[in-house]
Amino acid sequence: MRQVMDGNTAVAYGARLSRVQVVAAYPITPQSTIAEVLASFCDEGSLNARYLRVESEHSAMSATVGASYTGVRAFTATASVGLALMMEVIGVAAGSRLPIVMAVANRALCSPWSLWCDHSDTMAMRDQGWIQMYAENCQEALDFVPLAYRIAEDPLVQLPAVVAIDGFFLSHMSDTVEIPEQEKVDSFLPPRGPGLMRMDPAAPVAANVLTGPPFFTEAKYPMAEAMERVPGVAGRAMAEFGRVFGRQYAQVVAYRCEDADTALVAMGSVCGTVHHVVDKLRSQGRKVGLLRLVMFRPFPYDEVRAALVRAKNVIVLDRTPAVGTVGPLQAEVRTALYGTNPPPEVSGFVAGIGGRDIPEATVLRAMEEALAAASAIGRAGPAFVDAPALENWVDVIRSAPAATAVAPAVVEVKSR
């Protein structure tokens, strides 16, 4: 059945089709309607789940963790500062090896306050042991929920997963969405298996206890091993998803990258615009492509390297403010390309933060900046491509403050 709905509603449908058994959520713009729609589903009886109207995001994640510990399929959703408030428990979910799925309607972290989209919220949790999938459209917002559960609950994985949808650009944008049939989802996503740990009086265990230095590493590295197994598990799950539902997903989507000498790298809803730019430039005879990352964790280093290694110029769009560093996507792409010979010239740009639109002009400007000036200023630091006074960046980089005494930035120490 096809229906027009926004991304948040699509996520809620995805959760209902996944037959989640416990939902704990707290309202926050732009996620709130996920919580509302799921509450309505529970109220009308179309979703047989316990709905916990928690008093904070910290409790939302805590209750989701508690529920998941009893063996049920648990779901939550949040955004921005709500995710930041959850952060303490985010690590508990992963460390406890609980296959929770959480939707995040990406929104900027403050300060200043912003209601609008960027990826700084999910980027802040990127190394906490969660799988991360970034949707491009409302159909993916729905499909990625059962897909994420399927990957997270795989006996080889047992890690939580985030389905990230761009706040407002996806959460509140209406689109035609194919709603899969329940029987098909049931066949794709069977009931949750026993898991690694559970709270069961018939078989007690003491979980998530204080763990000393001799054992902490032993508890952590299996998480890294499980994350290493995600690409294989996700590949099989996506293949089956394609067979069952007719929509084929991948961890990385390379669009016209094969012979591209200039490749753009991006995630999320902006990829729609970049697709358009690529098509336009291709029609003008320029060899341009787009590499879109669906999965950011685990980071698909091999796939990214293989897709980009033939390009002369790689241009990364980070929808995350980078302060004192480069954008996280740029850093990962550089890591993936390190050691290739000859290495592509990598330029990274921060764009579209705090809800700023990324129109065609911004994408083109990033390309022009990269191709014209990349070698001149190196672009090792952050570049805010859609800041009005972009040209000032060169001045900022070149001008040194007239301080009376400046300690050397690097000290060489010969011995100690």
Partner: protein, 290 residues
């Protein structure tokens, strides 16, 4: 021969009354119980690395999230139709009155069927005796080195303000009373809260043998009122035949060594006012065994 659900040898301090309270609570609830314990002294009960002293299923929650973890566990059990399991939150005063108050308030307001036991040793003992919202007036802690300047907050009244169906206080000196209340709380079809006075030899500066005696003195001086409220109706369960002056309690503990006369007078006045209010409220007084 082993008794109860906890190993006999745990790394709790010698003379720890929390340990006795925990054993009583677990023994009363029985094996169909899931326990949530946040960081704090009772985390010892959850275990360390690969070993645990506790034979019940237990998860260590985050400090401010005991009630939310428990609420989630209850929701998960209900979603599976498992309605014969107790869900117990067992937290100290810091994790309850301070950082955990919000999640506790949320769970109680929602009516989640969890049993929350606060063992109140009146400071952050596990981190080294720092003052909490439940530290009494005048008490020395490492962060109130000159004695605490403000009164403690009243957790029982805070719970009562939520309309909680069952709230009670208890004391390790009156274990039958505690056990009876745990059983009642577990049978309550909604949230329940038991606030247990928990003398701490390490933090309160008294000999390890004196914990029960001091708990009893707190009741006999009227400083710790043993009561329960069932659906809002108050009943004082243990009424001291003749209340001793608060100094009888204060002088047993090194933490009150520096307390001023004004503060002692204020504490005595607080106790006297509390008991005159109780008498005026017409609550049922019984069990004068104290």
């Amino acid at each position: 021969m082993k008794k109860g659900f906890l190993a006999h040898g745990m790394t709790t301090c010698a003379g720890c009354t929390m340990e006795l309270i925990a054993r009583t609570v677990f023994d009363t609830l029985g094996e169909k119980t899931i326990v949530v314990i946040p960081p704090g002294c009772a985390a010892i009960l959850a275990g360390y690395s690969l070993e645990t002293p506790l034979e019940l299923p237990v998860v260590m929650s985050n400090l401010e999230a005991t009630a939310a973890f428990a609420a989630g566990i209850r929701a998960g059990l209900e979603a599976q139709g498992k309605n014969d399991v107790n869900v117990l939150g067992f937290a100290g005063d810091g994790g309850t009155a301070d950082i955990g108050l919000q999640s506790l308030s949320g769970a109680v307001e929602r009516g989640d069927r969890i049993l929350y036991v606060c063992y109140d040793n009146e400071a952050y003992m596990n981190t080294g005796i720092q003052g909490s919202g439940s530290t009494p007036l005048g008490a020395w802690t490492t962060t109130t080195p000159g004695g605490k300047a403000s009164r403690r907050k009243d957790l029982g009244l805070i719970m009562d303000a939520h309309g909680i169906p069952y709230v009670a206080t208890a004391s390790p000196a009156y274990l039958e009373d505690l056990a009876k209340k745990v059983a009642k709380a577990a049978a309550t079809p909604g949230p329940s809260f038991i606030h247990v006075h928990t003398p701490c030899p390490t933090g309160w500066r008294f000999p390890t043998a004196k914990g029960i005696e001091i708990a009893r003195l707190a009741v006999r001086t009227g400083m710790w009122v043993i009561y329960e409220r069932v659906n809002g109706v108050l009943e004082v369960n243990i009424k001291p035949a003749k209340r001793l002056p608060v100094t009888e309690y204060l002088k047993t503990q090194g933490r009150f060594a520096g307390i001023g006369e004004e503060q002692v007078a204020a504490m005595q006045a607080d106790v006297d006012r509390t008991w005159s209010q109780l008498a005026a409220s017409g609550e049922v007084l019984q069990s004068a065994g104290a």
